[in-house]
């Protein structure tokens, strides 16, 4: 299923329509052949394919990501296109990878054959990792729109640009936060565990946590647990952590598993100081919706904290998104809006669709919150190998049913509750 923003509708060819077409063709030919006075520069069309999953297990992310791109590109076109390119319009096409890696790679190659200005790959970390060397070899600008894998930028150092922070950056925020809050409150953890789902994303997070935790001499790593995201029962592992008196559980997971783990923690009355997620499934609206009060006090490192919607710099855009798609601005859609903003900004600065000029323009991106549709709190600035160096992640906590930034200080809107209140003590 492809969605073309400018799908022509073909109807029966009437005589009037034929004559109109013939006159237009003749006029164009005449203008091209020697009537410079009446010739106007026809604005070019900028083709941008977006490969993401609109169906399949994580369709939510793909749908919202593509909506973010759609919102910005439609708005840019409505405002007269890319001004430095004489009002060139953006034609985008969304390809559905079904969140299957083989389909994703086929579609990315298909997109590559369609003479794109930029390819947006927004399905998975693994898909971006596999495609990055291909983009590098074929010299195609590759926006890794939805992937937290840590090795993606290095796999395509010149032509791949990772919009997200790597999950290692987010894990680092989680570990730093625990250190900081322990220092502030005097309540420091001793025993920690790491849980991660066993796909590329989760494993990247798990590996990052292992390195970071190993540096903490005061902590004892009790267990590292890798599991399938479709696992249906976590009671045994949580019982083990409860028996081992684990203080903090660091996680990198998807939606269903993050929900089940929290419900199991509540069921077994497992009372650590905190369970902390790194973006992923615990950073979705579904996590809050399905868990209700059980999600209260959960910590998660986010790229886009929900309360940022109210920031005056992006509120009009957030409201516009919500009015059009009936959902608040959140993780995947904010990444889509920001990614589209980066492309628009680079096109304006490059004043060209030449891939080398455009690539250089993207590489020199330096945008802050509110610039050119950027809704990331930290903005966008690419490092040497196309990694977004501006993003560092924000610790959020679920308080009264919503997520609020609680650390670092410059973003915090509420004070963190540390440690969690015991389940038995909660109202």
């Amino acid at each position: 299923m492809d969605h073309d923003s400018t799908s022509p509708t073909l109807g029966p060819v009437s005589r009037r329509r034929f004559l109109g077409g013939a006159i237009a063709t003749a006029g164009t030919a005449a203008a091209t052949l020697g009537f410079p006075v009446v010739r106007r520069a026809a604005a070019a069309e900028i083709f941008i394919p977006i490969v993401t999953g609109l169906t399949g297990p994580s369709a939510d992310w793909g749908i919202h990501l593509s909506q973010g791109y759609q919102l910005v590109f439609d708005e840019v076109n409505a405002r007269g296109g890319i001004k430095s390119l004489g009002g060139a319009t953006i034609r985008y096409q969304v390809f559905d990878s079904e969140f299957k890696h083989d389909v994703e790679q086929k579609l990315l190659r298909k997109a590559m054959s369609m003479n794109p200005v930029v390819i947006v790959a927004g399905a998975s970390s693994q898909g971006n990792l596999v495609f990055a060397p291909v983009a590098e070899k074929e010299e195609v600008i590759h926006i890794a729109a939805l992937g937290l894998g840590t090795d993606i930028p290095a796999a395509g150092p010149r032509w791949t640009f990772q919009m997200n922070a790597g999950v290692d950056v987010l894990c680092n925020v989680a570990v730093e936060f625990v250190g900081a809050i322990a220092g502030e409150t005097g309540k420091a953890p001793r025993r920690v565990a790491i849980m991660f789902e066993d796909s590329y994303f989760g494993k990247s997070g798990g590996d990052a946590y292992k390195v970071l935790v190993a540096k903490q001499s005061a902590w004892e790593l009790v267990d590292t647990y890798s599991y399938s995201a479709k696992q249906q029962d976590f009671s045994t592992i949580i019982a083990k952590y409860k028996a081992a008196k684990v203080d903090v559980v660091f996680q990198a997971n998807y939606v269903q598993d993050s929900i089940l783990i929290m419900r199991t923690a509540e069921t077994l009355r497992f009372n650590p100081m905190a369970i902390i997620g790194a973006a992923g499934g615990s950073d979705t609206l579904e996590f809050l919706k399905q868990l209700g009060k059980t999600a209260e006090y959960f910590f998660n490192v986010a790229i886009f904290p929900g309360n940022l919607n109210q920031n005056p710099k992006i509120k009009p855009l957030a409201d516009k998104y919500e009015a059009r798609y009936k959902r608040p601005l959140f993780q995947a859609n904010s990444m889509g809006i920001t990614g589209a903003g980066v492309i628009v900004d680079a096109l304006e600065r490059a004043g060209s669709t030449d891939k080398y000029k455009l690539r250089d323009a993207i590489a020199k991106t330096n945008l802050k919150l509110g610039d050119s549709y950027v809704v990331n709190p930290d903005g966008v600035r690419f490092g040497e190998i196309g990694k977004n160096m501006a993003i560092r992640g924000i610790m959020t906590q679920v308080l009264q049913g919503d997520r609020f930034a609680v650390w670092p200080k410059q973003y915090s809107v509420k004070s963190p509750v540390w440690p969690w209140p015991a389940w038995e003590a909660r109202a």
Binding site: A59, D60, Y227, Q232, S235, K240, Q256, I259, L260, Q290
Partner: protein, 296 residues
Amino acid sequence: MPDLPVVWQALVSGILMGGIYALVAAGFTLIFGVLKIMNFAYGEFVMLGMYATFLAYTLGGVDPYLSLALVLPAFFLLGIVVQRLLIDRILDAPDDMQMILTFGLLILISNLALFFFTSDLQGIRVGYLDRIITFGGTFFRSSLLYAFVWALGLLAATYLFIRRSRLGRAVRATADDRFAARVVGLPVRAVFWITFGLGSAIGAASGSILLPYLPASPDRGFEFTLLAIIVVVLGGMGSFVGALVGGLAIGLTRSLGQVFISAVLSDALSLFVVLVILLVRPAGLFGAKVARDVAI
């Protein structure tokens, strides 16, 4: 040596999950035992059962277990329709054709579910099913305990129906020898319809009773099919008792394996157990040489 409370928790969780696994596998084994087809779309009926109960609860406030009064007959009829329109046509076709058809059905149903229900997880939280029960130092949700009890109840009811009723006898006779059943005048084709309908209804019912514990999503179906295949291969194709024992064995292997061997290897361990049992008993624990012992 692991802590005793952890072992105890794993044991209780394994038994509770195992009972549900058994019910999930029961419909699959019934269909295989009689029709001799590997129905890869079976898990989709489990998933659709979840959605049916979700709709009944959210739109009409119907208790998830009361919704079984709607789900069972509705999916029985749906199963009959699927059997008559699709499965009937490939019963005598080569095995690969049967696989292709049921796989096609799997893809169709899961994408229809995706279209109508979106990829959002859809769960329900019902007060009396959301209580936390403590038992001998173990903890579990009331939803899991209820699901286990309902699973055993439905298994027992199906078992008695197959064993004690005239129709059940016809089903067993058809499973035993299709040709002989025709010779003695049994309406074999109608038995097929009823069997597929019953198997589909059991699958959907297992989805209904699972919903308060596990949210529904369109991609859930295949994991249930896979689970059913593992349980049924272990217990023996076409055996009801095998499905029960197989379900409990998988549940316990997964949970106790996390305690005694490795949390990471527990899933692999359950498959290893299946492999070992198949080496010793190729027909599974309770399977006959040809699947002919439905409900024995």
